[in-house]
Each structure stands twice: as structure tokens, then as C-alpha cells.
């Protein structure tokens, strides 16, 4: 089986789940990594080291900024020419659009957010969460190529083999675009929640009082500082409930849950989060869940393996100190 793997990156920084996709592709047969952008030859080398047999490199100043249309047209043209059986992507904001549009061009289907993919005779059967993960479905795509976007951290990352090489093929961009990129406001601390192995999240409880006076706002910021300090000792990312985002304590990009991000870290620590269903659907696949809440009846404790019934303003700093000592930091 021949598989295309789209290596998704933002300004040259590769989404790590792209390598997970490459690892999966290798288990099916020959792999062709697709690297699109401008000045991205070094990504091609990383793709070889991660196991690609061939890299299709489309390096063109016109592809400096990601835009759905030219990227999709470029991908569709390459797929028309090389007729892969399968095209894999990591699931990101960009790849959902890219796969969606290419699938229209190629008259085929896309399986999104896939957590398992198995060959069953001639068919590829994908397992994906539906209804916010309350149910799983196995689905198949009856036409070729099958397109699938993989959920981050659902597949193992292949070990890189330094110095490994393969066939580098340069291809042309289809640069026509209906949209223009005017600029970026990139968050200072770019949070990559979907790829994080450890997430420490804060909720409305990071401010003691939900009705927001100036003093409470100050406590809220203090609360997120404490969340951030623990996250940094654990080399983790900071998450939040929607109540914390709506209150303006922290940007929307940090939100976990139904209208935020679905995450699957090894460790998820929830502080001052009650555990509403819309939050739980975003984080209950974490391997280990720890909850800190002053209300012993908070629903978050039904999902947690370990819990502390107490004040997060006391527990979080103590936990940060404890880990500093134990991890030698």
C-alpha cells in the first residue's frame, strides 16, 4: 500500500502528530511525506529521519503562508498523479480544511480524528469518537484514496534515525488562492494542548468569587500563576475551563472541552474545575486525572483517579514545591 503523509507545520515548526502519522503509514507499506511551504527543505530531511521513503517537496515562496485553497489544489494534483491508497494527516485546524477540500477534488471521503486504523482485507477500518467521544464508530471509506486525519497522541511516535535519507522529489505548487493572509497575532506562549503530555488546568475556582470585582480579578490572575508554575515544573501546558476563559482570565486557545480542545495527555490536573459534561468530554481520555476542588461533591471527582478536597491556593503551590524537590528542579 502506498501512503501519502501530509507533514503539517506552522512557519516551519512541525506538528508532532505528523510524525505519528508517518509511523502509522510505515506499518502499511511505502510512505511518501508531503512537505509544502517556503524554505522548508530541512523538514524534508526530518521526514526521512522519521522514516519516509520518499519526500514530495513543494517549496515555493507562494506557499509561505498556509491557505486552504492553494494547499488543497497542490495536494489534489499530486494525489491525481501518484494515486496513493491512503492519505494521512495529523488533525489540526489546517488539515481539516485541507483534507476537506482535497476530498472534494478527488471525490473521496475523509475520516477525521481517527484513534485506530486497521487493514481488514482490502478495506481500511477507522475508529473515531463521535458524539463527543460518548460513542465510538468504526467507519470505512469506499473510494480511493482513503483520507484520514489522526488524533494527536493516539499513535506512537517513530524513533528518528539520524542521517537517514530517501528519494527527494520536487514538485510544483498550484498557487492560485481566493484568500489572502493579512497578518498574525501569535500568542506569546503558544499552547499546544493537543500534543501536551501533561496539562494543568484551572477553572472558575482560580478566583474565589465568581462575581468579578477588581480584587477577584487579581486573585484570578494569581490563581493562573499557580497553575502555570505547576505546569512548568512538570514541563506541561496550561489548560482552562470555559468559565475561566469567559471570565477573561486566560485566552480561548487554552480552553479544554466541547467548544475548546479535546486533549489526551498522560496526566491532567484539574484545579477549581467542577467537571461539567462539556469540560469532561474534552479531557476524560487523559491517562491519569487528578482533581483539586474544595467541594467534595464536585462531579470532576467521578473521573479522577486521585483527588484533593481542599483550597487550590494552598494545594497548588505545595504540589509545585513537592515536585521541584522530587524531580530535582
Amino acid at each position: 500500500m502506498k501512503t501519502f503523509v501530509y507533514i503539517d507545520h506552522f512557519k516551519g515548526a512541525v506538528q508532532p502528530a505528523s510524525w505519528e502519522a508517518l509511523g502509522l503509514a510505515k506499518s502499511f507499506g511505502s510512505t511518501v511525506a508531503l512537505v509544502f511551504g517556503s524554505g522548508v527543505e530541512s523538514i524534508a530531511q526530518s521526514a526521512f529521519e522519521a522514516g519516509a521513503d520518499e519526500v514530495l517537496l513543494v517549496d515555493d515562496p507562494a506557499l509561505l503562508d498556509y491557505r486552504a485553497e492553494p494547499f488543497a489544489s497542490t495536494l489534489s494534483a499530486l494525489a491525481h498523479a501518484a494515486t496513493p491508497d491512503l492519505i494521512l494527516f495529523p488533525t489540526t485546524a489546517r488539515t481539516r480544511e485541507l483534507a476537506a477540500m482535497s476530498a472534494v477534488d478527488l471525490g473521496t471521503g475523509v475520516l477525521t480524528d481517527v484513534i485506530a486504523l486497521e487493514a481488514d482485507g482490502d478495506n481500511l477500518v477507522a475508529t473515531r469518537p463521535i458524539y463527543e467521544g460518548k460513542v465510538l464508530e468504526k467507519s470505512v471509506c469506499s473510494s480511493k484514496p482513503v483520507m484520514a486525519t489522526l488524533r494527536a497522541r493516539a499513535f506512537p511516535k517513530p524513533a528518528a534515525e539520524a542521517g537517514r535519507t530517501g528519494t527527494l522529489t520536487k514538485a510544483e505548487a498550484k498557487a492560485e488562492s481566493l484568500t489572502n493572509v493579512e497578518g498574525y497575532a501569535v500568542a506569546e506562549n503558544v499552547v499546544n494542548l493537543t500534543d501536551a503530555g501533561v496539562i494543568v488546568s484551572g477553572g472558575r475556582g482560580v478566583s474565589n468569587n465568581p462575581s468579578l470585582g477588581l480584587d477577584e480579578m487579581a486573585t484570578a490572575h494569581k490563581g493562573f500563576e499557580l497553575v502555570g508554575e505547576l505546569a512548568s515544573v512538570l514541563d506541561g501546558a496550561v489548560g482552562a475551563s470555559r468559565a475561566a476563559v469567559d471570565a477573561g482570565y486566560i485566552p480561548y486557545s487554552n480552553q479544554v472541552g466541547q467548544t475548546g480542545k479535546v486533549v489526551s495527555p498522560d496526566l491532567y490536573i484539574a484545579a477549581g474545575i467542577s467537571g461539567a459534561i462539556q469540560h469532561l468530554v474534552g479531557m476524560r481520555n487523559a491517562k491519569l486525572i487528578v482533581a483539586i476542588n474544595k467541594d467534595a461533591d464536585a462531579p470532576i471527582f467521578t473521573q479522577a483517579r486521585y483527588g484533593v478536597v481542599g483550597d487550590l491556593f494552598a494545594i497548588l503551590p505545595a504540589l509545585t514545591e513537592a515536585f521541584k524537590k522530587k524531580l530535582g528542579k
Binding site: 481539516r96 472534494v104 493572509v181 462539556q278
Partner: protein
């Protein structure tokens, strides 16, 4: 400006959804407008107000989906259209995009079509870009802010790495995220108007298209493995003691 908001009806997010006899069941939980599509209606209404335009809510679904359309009308949409046809059972996103594109044409086109980010049931997040591709209109996805000026639309898009400002000529397809602003509550007047509205129902024959064949189909449904949920509450004399015990427990799980 003429705006269309695409909405779907789904089981309420509080519903206890499970796989039962090869079907998805949600007990007697109500069907509601897809929560992400409430943001789409909100975004559409904001643009209606900014440009003195109109909003038409558009839905593919069974007869019962009229309730979701009525919600959009009660929020302030001017008109609603339901596309309903038994041949649309098992529709995949590519099929939905083709049917929506045909319905958009039959409505008489639009300056802007606004989508939600994804559906709660299927959760694909593909339909907006696929509809844009079918229409050959520009796609501005995941907009947190929308500005229209001189026949151009500029959006601030929320992506993993931050925010990106993107523009295009109208007509365009947009999808919106939560940052667009909280969906407004239906007004009393709106609810009255919605309850009296007659919502036209179009079949595939009305649209002049054949049923799109589904390329993506479901082979099996499963309930996720139930996880062990007994919580162990860590106690101690002081925060330091609790933290010390908890850190040891976490380290012993080898997740770091």
C-alpha cells in the same frame, strides 16, 4: 447583505448517548440546535445588523429539525429553509456539502454563508470547507471576529498557534468559533414570530439533484471501554503533607 447560516439539529450535549443494538441512542434527551451552530447564527446576526442585511437559516434534516430552525428564527433570523428527503439518510459530509451548495443556489445565492465549527454528533468539521470548494467560493474558517467592508470580508481566525487575519472577496464561506460572542437568547417577539412561521421543506427533486452516494459509511458502533473511576482522596495534616503524598502517587503512575 444576504447571509445564510447553516445549522444542524443534534441531541443535547447533556444527553447520555450510547450505542445500543447497533444504533446511537440518547434516551428521551431533547434534540437541539448544534451548539456550534448557535455561534454561526450569532455571527450571521451580527453581520445582518452591521450591514442592514437578512439572515436565512438552512438545515438538512428530518421534519423534527424545524425546531432547530425555529430557534434560529427566534434568535432573529428572517427566514428558514429545511431540506428533507428520505434519500438523505446516511449522508456524509461531502454529500451534505453538495446538498447545501444546491440549496444555497436555490435560495438565490448569498454574500456570506456562515457555518459552525463542527457538529456534535458526527464531529467531522469538514462540511464548511467542502461546501466552499463545491461552490468555488473562498473559505475563511474558524473566525473569531468578522469585518465586512467594500465587498471584502476580513476575519480573525483562531488557530492552534494564535490568531491569523485572513481576507477574501465576497461571496465567501465562513465558519465561526466561540470567540464570536455568546449566542443571544431568543426574544419574546422572536419566539412568537418563530412559532407562527411556516418553514418551506425542499426535497432533492426541488433542488434538482440526485441523492449523493455516501463514500464514508459506518461499519460498527461501540461504547468506549468504561474506565475505572474510583477516586482516591489524598488527605493529610497540612497542604505540604497532602502535596507530598499526591506527588508520590503521581510519580508511581509513571506518567511523567
Amino acid at each position: 447583505m444576504k447571509i445564510i447560516a447553516c445549522i444542524k439539529q443534534v441531541p443535547d450535549s447533556e444527553a447520555k448517548v450510547k450505542a445500543e443494538n447497533g444504533q446511537v441512542s440518547w434516551g428521551d434527551a431533547p434534540l437541539v440546535i448544534n451548539p456550534f451552530d448557535e455561534y454561526a447564527v450569532e455571527g450571521a446576526l451580527q453581520q445582518k445588523e452591521a450591514t442592514d442585511g437578512t439572515v436565512t437559516a438552512l438545515c438538512i434534516g428530518p421534519e423534527s429539525a424545524k425546531e432547530a430552525l425555529k430557534h434560529a428564527l427566534a434568535m432573529g433570523a428572517d427566514e428558514a429553509v429545511l431540506v428533507s428527503d428520505p434519500a438523505l439518510d446516511g449522508l456524509d459530509t461531502l454529500g451534505a456539502a453538495r446538498v447545501l451548495a444546491a440549496a444555497i443556489q436555490k435560495i438565490g445565492g448569498a454574500d456570506m454563508v456562515v457555518f459552525g465549527r463542527q457538529t456534535l454528533d458526527n464531529g467531522a468539521g469538514l462540511t464548511p470547507a467542502q461546501t466552499a470548494r463545491v461552490l468555488a467560493w473562498p473559505m475563511l474558517g474558524l473566525a473569531g471576529q468578522i469585518k465586512v467592508q467594500d465587498g471584502n470580508v476580513t476575519v480573525e481566525r483562531v488557530i492552534e498557534e494564535g490568531r491569523q487575519t485572513v481576507s477574501a472577496k465576497l461571496p465567501a464561506v465562513l465558519s465561526v468559533v466561540q470567540s464570536i460572542g455568546e449566542p443571544r437568547y431568543p426574544s419574546f417577539m422572536g419566539i412568537r414570530k418563530a412559532s407562527k412561521a411556516t418553514i418551506p421543506v425542499w426535497t432533492l427533486a426541488d433542488l434538482g439533484i440526485a441523492a449523493p452516494a455516501a463514500v464514508v459509511t459506518r461499519a460498527e458502533l461501540m461504547n468506549p471501554p468504561s474506565r475505572e473511576t474510583t477516586v482516591e482522596i489524598i488527605t493529610g495534616e497540612s497542604p505540604a503533607e497532602i502535596a507530598d503524598k499526591l506527588a508520590d502517587k503521581i510519580l508511581a503512575e509513571k506518567v511523567l
